[in-house]
């Protein structure tokens, strides 16, 4: 995140306001300085879906852009809309009739809420003598570390198997008297692999632990990949022992950001989710998650897209994502020395045994591409989307050019893989 301005010699807050047309032009100039749509389509501008979905999002957001979802309890329409989104989410992820959910500002907040609920649940159901701990595979999202930091808990990241999946036996061996929760990803962001959720949940049940599934990436696409016949292991509330899930509607749900869901297997978890504060002059302050005010606009986009696409539409979007992935994988592997990692998602990870990946990232950065990637091992990451042949061909052409340049030494600038 850029926090420093370029020119410190002038004041930025204007004494007098300007005309909207002028301000609008300056906004457009900011946008022009960003990574271009074509270059960013497979990473920074991923999860946009089709141009039709973009229009639907724009219109739906505008209709509710002045709304505050925090007040949904008093706004009959907005409140019903949010409840319907959550019911659809639970239906997609096979939640029970008495399952509950909350819309949050993103995967990080969903994970925070689930870990908070786990900590509170443990106070009642699994009191521990020391600092509460959660056990995750090494590949779990960084948001678990943040959640533990804020919640005064420890995170124990357990090394992966050689194939980069969670090592369930090692995770079980890491359980101590202070462990309160365990989790798996479906899939994990760094490798696109779905952890053995059923086995991890069995560990949770054996040791009376809270079981969380982080399906921020896969929650709203795994079910459709399953329908298409891909080998997707069971990852949702069908797995006995799963108490909570995080799943982002602003990824493969194609809602506008920020829009994620934290879902619980049973309404019993409601007690542990909320932080009902009343010790201030206004009285009860009970909000859906960490934040107070929330944009109703992004919830409206989720409701709109879910209703426009329906199951049939989402399956078709998943089919298109996988078709783009197949084309990209084929094209990448045709480039000498580049190899893709097989995984359980629509995402692509590729590396080279012979070419320096940092220099490949440098070459791509110089050509306007954002180096989404992984350090361990060094890989570049793409998030295939239903996109044009032009975008795909441009990327493959540029990558081939960069690989050649790195191989023959004409490209020497380096860049590091980035996520934030």
């Amino acid at each position: 995140m850029k926090q420093h301005i370029d020119d410190t010699s002038r004041a930025y807050f204007p004494a007098k306001g300007a005309q909207w047309e002028e301000v609008k032009q300056r906004l457009a100039a900011f946008k022009d300085r960003d990574i271009g749509q074509a270059q960013g389509r497979l990473n920074v501008y991923c999860h946009q879906g089709t141009p039709e979905l973009q229009t639907i999002r724009d219109e739906a957001y505008t209709m509710f852009s002045h709304g505050n979802a925090m007040l949904g309890g008093f706004m009959e329409g907005s409140g019903t809309m949010e409840a319907e989104v959550l019911r659809m989410a639970l239906e997609i992820l096979n939640g029970a009739e008495n399952g509950i959910g909350f819309i949050t500002t993103g995967g990080t907040e969903s994970i925070f809420c689930a870990m908070h609920a786990a900590r509170e649940w443990a106070l009642v159901n699994r009191p521990v003598p020391g600092t509460p701990e959660i056990i995750t595979p090494y590949s779990a999202h960084a948001a678990f570390d943040k959640a533990c930091h804020f919640l005064g808990m420890n995170i124990v990241r357990v090394a992966l198997r050689d194939d980069l999946y969670a090592d369930v036996a090692a995770m079980e061996a890491a359980v101590t008297e202070n462990t309160i929760a365990i989790m798996g990803s479906a899939p994990c962001w760094p490798y696109g692999l779905i952890d053995p959720i059923t086995e991890i949940a069995a560990v949770a049940m054996r040791h009376n632990l809270w079981m969380h599934v982080d399906a921020c990436v896969g929650g709203y696409i795994n079910p459709w990949l399953e329908r298409l016949g891909y080998d997707i292991p069971t990852f949702d509330f069908r797995v006995p022992g799963v108490r909570s899930m995080s799943a982002d509607l602003h990824k493969h749900g194609y809602a506008a950001k920020p829009c994620s869901t934290v879902l619980y297997s049973s309404s019993d978890a409601e007690t542990y989710h909320y932080v009902p504060v009343d010790n201030w002059p206004i009285g009860e302050y009970r909000t859906a998650g960490m934040v107070g005010s929330r944009p109703a606009g992004s919830i409206a986009t989720a409701w709109a897209v879910m209703n426009v696409l329906g199951e049939e539409g989402y399956v078709e979007m998943a089919r298109q994502c996988m078709a783009v992935k197949e084309r990209l994988v084929e094209g990448i592997e045709k480039i000498e020395d580049l190899k893709c990692l097989k995984n359980d998602s629509t995402m692509i990870y590729f590396r080279s045994e012979t070419l320096d990946m940092m220099t490949i990232m440098g070459g791509l950065s110089e050509r306007g591409y954002f180096p989404f990637g992984v350090f361990n091992p060094p890989m570049l990451q793409l998030v295939p989307e239903p996109t044009s042949d032009e975008v795909i061909n441009d990327y493959l052409r540029t990558l081939a050019e960069v690989a050649t340049g790195v191989r023959n030494g004409t490209i020497t600038s380096t860049a590091l893989a980035r996520y934030t």
């Binding site: 106070l123 009642v124 009343d278 010790n279 002059p281 009285g283």
Partner: protein
């Protein structure tokens, strides 16, 4: 007399929940507050004191209730519920325990006066739901 008996039974029930109901204990574990029940003639009935997981109750006045209209006393949130008479108190507790509208009407008519932290009136509604 019957009113005092009902309040005493209510306090016993809370004590039992504190001992045997994990969810209740969880819900009040961070609460530091005191509810005082009294009559408008100045007679103290009983207080319920929740102190971060420790529950105390006794007949008479809690020292915090003697501080007038303050919303808190030594960090403890305080509210005093003064009923016009024992019979009024009894009727309100019976009819109002599931309907805050009855309590609100009583406050309008001054048969119930709440002093101190008014948000504890809402919390008392939650407490009544648990009993």
């Amino acid at each position: 007399m019957l009113f005092k008996l009902v309040i005493w039974l209510l306090s016993l029930r809370i004590g039992k929940l504190m001992r045997s109901d994990r969810d209740f204990r969880y819900a009040v574990r961070e609460k530091n507050l005191m509810l005082q029940f009294a009559l408008q003639n100045g007679e103290a009935v009983r207080y319920l004191d929740f102190d971060k997981g420790v529950y105390r109750t006794a007949s008479g006045w809690h020292e915090a209730a003697r501080q007038g209209n303050a919303v808190s006393y030594k960090g403890k949130r305080v509210a005093t519920f003064s009923f016009a008479s024992a019979w009024t108190g009894l009727a309100l507790l019976i009819r109002g325990s599931k309907d805050s509208g009855v309590m609100l009407a009583a406050m309008r008519e001054k048969t119930l006066v709440v002093k101190g932290d008014f948000t504890l009136f809402i919390w008392f509604g939650w407490l009544a739901d648990q009993l």
